[in-house]
Point group: C2
Chain length 318, copies 2
């Protein structure tokens, strides 16, 4: 077994909720993400998390407040290795409050790097709970619908939180997504505040039917059913008020070939599922133009749905 | 094309709700069911539905109140053939208020027979809405989770009611169910009355996660996941009070090998999903003994999940 002095991991961005899977579905996207380097520290003084990258200056470096270090600390505690004083560097490429799982990218990459550094004492599935603790610090709830797909890659269903039950679901090869991130910050906690705490039995039943239909469609590659199932009765009706131009932008995306379109995570990014990469690229531009018409610049990303999860991108052996 | 004077169809019993699919899932079971004969009437006087079989004396024969005739009348109206005066005979084998889709067996068989008699102007999928009208008369709501599997056979997901969107899902060949019907009558309308009209967001999310997990499990034949997903947060917690001994009976069924166990439809019948026919037979006896311990006699049925739907069992050509 290789012994490392330092390991750098990449944690991909993710789309959570996926239109009809509020709090229970998410998938990784290829391209954007954060990088975390974990090194065995030669001097023993506890230090801050080293921050760099375009958004590094916006997050706390203090170990008890930083998503990456909180996740790693939980991991080390469980392993009984709290004495290890690891140096943690985070390249924060992902904007905050984007709806693309920014904090999850950091905490997933952090635990993934630490696990590799220590010779992989746990499986990727097993380290998910530690990355969830990073989420708790970042947005107040230890949710798994971003960290699980960021770590595992691909499409993930969170069947249960207690006990944690995470199901990986293979998607059709020609299923792509367009993700468009407008220059607008929306905090998960604020986006959660607009939600209702009770829903009608009728809507709960419709919601479960769409969720079930979506899973069948995804597994069978039935795109017409996928399209019909992508209806969010829980979050979208309350959250669109937070995103300028949501209704016409979504309508245009569907008109231009998207199978479904919705809010990525808690927004403000939008995502659209499309058959084929070309359609996804076209839909990404359509959504971008829609935001422009509302005075918002945006970045676009296009990715296959079976995108890879966390990966080691650099390491230095002892 | 054959021209018929008379057609007899069999409509199988069904299990609706299926533990975690309240109002949206159902499957056909092999064995029990009702028979409906539809004949071209030579004399034109409107007559009552002819009733026979062990439970025929318990249901109304008047055309506007009988499940079978109401379903057929809707069908004829849509076809513009209301002038046809069909003679309808119903062999009512299924007990009422059993939770095994008794009324659905009648209305499904009725429309299926009428469609065949008229040379199949519609597909089986297309005649579902007429059978649903029979359900409306029988229990106050035009639900599809019994009539759709009774007509189509196999396992069915009702993705939406408006528009009606019914998805057929193939089950693993070795998945069987045990259905046990205690001598106790429970009306759907009463069973619906005990339900809450609002549920918490948290329970709605958990419910959708179980529904999604169940569909993945069913399609992949992953029995451990199937088992974990079979949790009903909507109906079961409120309805078990209506079924003597529910909790210990369910516990025993699971201990004796059932993957999951719950209320069939609105009860009082219980169903259990099992891997293999032998286990299903054993579990059926276990549940039966459980009812006995609570002073209730019961009938047991064991069936594969991919059971056939309505079929023509007799016909007389012109």
């Amino acid at each position: 077994m290789k012994k490392y002095k330092s390991v750098t991991a990449f944690g991909p961005a993710t789309v959570a909720n996926v239109g009809c899977g509020y709090d229970i579905m998410g998938f990784a996207i290829q391209g954007p993400g954060d990088e975390v380097t974990v090194s065995l520290n030669e001097n023993n003084a506890t230090s801050l998390v080293e921050l760099s990258g375009p958004y590094g200056h916006l997050i706390p470096g203090a170990r008890e407040k930083n998503t990456a270090s909180v996740a790693i600390n939980c991991f080390l505690q469980t392993l009984g290795r709290s004495e290890l004083n690891l140096r943690i560097s985070l390249v924060k490429n992902m904007p905050l409050g984007s709806g693309m799982g920014s904090s999850a990218s950091s905490s997933a990459a952090a635990v993934f790097a630490a696990n590799e550094l220590l010779g992989n004492p746990m499986s990727t599935m097993e380290i998910i709970p530690f990355a969830m603790e990073g989420e708790r610090i970042a947005c107040g709830a230890a949710h798994a619908d971003n960290v699980a797909p960021s770590l595992l890659g691909g499409f993930v269903l969170i069947r249960s939180y207690n006990p944690l039950d995470i199901i990986e679901v293979k998607c059709p090869e020609d299923l792509f997504c367009a993700v468009v991130h407008p220059q607008l910050e929306l905090h998960t906690a604020d986006a959660r505040r607009v939600l209702k705490m009770e829903i009608t039995m009728g809507n709960a039943i419709k919601h479960s039917a769409n969720t079930a239909g979506f899973m069948v469609a995804l597994m069978k590659g039935e795109y017409a059913l996928l399209s019909r199932s992508m209806q969010d009765l829980l979050a979208e009706p309350r959250r669109t008020q937070l995103i300028p131009g949501f209704d016409p932008i979504k309508e245009n995306a569907l008109k231009e070939g998207a199978l479904g379109c919705g809010i990525s995570g808690s927004g403000p990014s939008l995502f659209a599922l499309c058959q084929g990469e070309k359609t996804a690229q076209h839909v990404a531009r359509t959504i971008q133009q829609g935001f422009e018409a509302h005075g918002l610049q945006s970045e676009t990303f296009v990715s296959a749905l079976n995108a890879p999860g966390c990966s080691i991108i650099n390491s230095i052996e002892v």
